[in-house]
Symmetry: C2
């Protein structure tokens, strides 16, 4: 398969990667299939040969996001330290991921994609792998814990971190709002609460 002037060669992947760049820099709302096609040098109808509609392309982009996140979790799981330290490290890396690719993170966590019934097939696998990786790290960190305790921890941990990221991305944590706490203070406080090591 080679670009021959008429057929692009690998338009599907090129579309996903170009869309990924747009989503990361300007957010999913800013994605225009027409602009995308133009930037890749194809006609505006070409994308529809590979994605039934705009949302299908966004779902594929979100899938790449979950791929990246699952690798982050896997890397944290292989890192040094005892179990609880690795959980904390996983959350720290997750926050770094969300900050460095905030448009993508918003697409993954705030879009309607995951609310669909059924969940878009391209998303199901990466999504499941992501949470299996996190679940493994968590359950190994607390091998003696009951399942209910672990599940509770998983929900509260993710809620705390995601909430912090959402509020932060929404511009909520200005310096004057937090003073006298620094940004690092906030991050550590969040990690303390998320991982259950909060000081009262």
């Amino acid at each position: 398969m080679v670009k021959d002037g008429y057929h692009h060669g690998d338009l599907a992947n090129a579309l996903i990667e170009a869309a990924l760049a747009v989503v990361e820099s300007d957010g999913a709302d800013a994605l225009s299939l027409r602009d995308l096609a133009a930037s890749l040098g194809v006609s505006r109808a070409a994308p529809y040969r590979h994605f039934v509609d705009r949302d299908a392309l966004l779902a594929a982009v979100a899938a790449r996001g979950f791929d990246a996140l699952s690798e982050i979790y896997l890397a944290a799981d292989a890192g040094p330290g005892d179990g609880p330290a690795r959980v904390r490290e996983a959350m720290r890396h997750y926050m770094a991921f969300a900050w460095s690719r905030s448009g993508l993170h918003r697409l993954m966590f705030e879009s309607e994609l995951l609310r669909r019934d059924p969940i878009p097939p391209v998303l199901a696998g990466p999504y499941q792998r992501t949470y299996e990786a996190l679940w493994r790290t968590l359950s190994r960190a607390y091998p003696d814990a009951e399942e209910a305790w672990l599940k509770r921890r998983r929900v509260t941990m993710l809620s705390t971190v995601v909430g912090f990221l959402v509020l932060d991305e929404a511009g909520r944590f200005t310096p004057e709002w937090a003073r006298p706490l620094s940004r690092e203070d906030l991050v550590e406080a969040i990690l303390d609460v998320a991982t259950g090591t909060a000081r009262p």
Copy 2:
């Protein structure tokens, strides 16, 4: 001021309220100024006499949301029980608000409106009142606490609750994901963590 067939009479308010209904039922993305104008029986250019653009109308809608939320916080502050119990009650009512008006909640917390610099003036007042009400409840509940401790608690508390709501609204907490925990178990676990009464 009366509807005379040509002039509407109170188009600005009518637009906000109609938009509020759309946002609550179908989300902010579904709002079309043209549809809105048609449903109110005015021309499609009429809304622009009252709101410079679509975002300005959404900002006004979000402002109504913060008005409603600040009243909820005020009511919780006047409720029975000791301070910490009132904080917990405030968070419980906040969650009920977000669930019953989820489209509005998403607009308030996930839109770009608050990230603007400067924050839209119509939003500034209601937003500030909302967090002043919550801050009062919180600081009265722990009168001996240092400011840094209270600020930390405010950030972690809101993060946990907002994160739970965002993930829930994104369809993340399916029964099989949470099993064996019930929905009420999740809510109580979130309130425990948010208010700092988590059991390990």
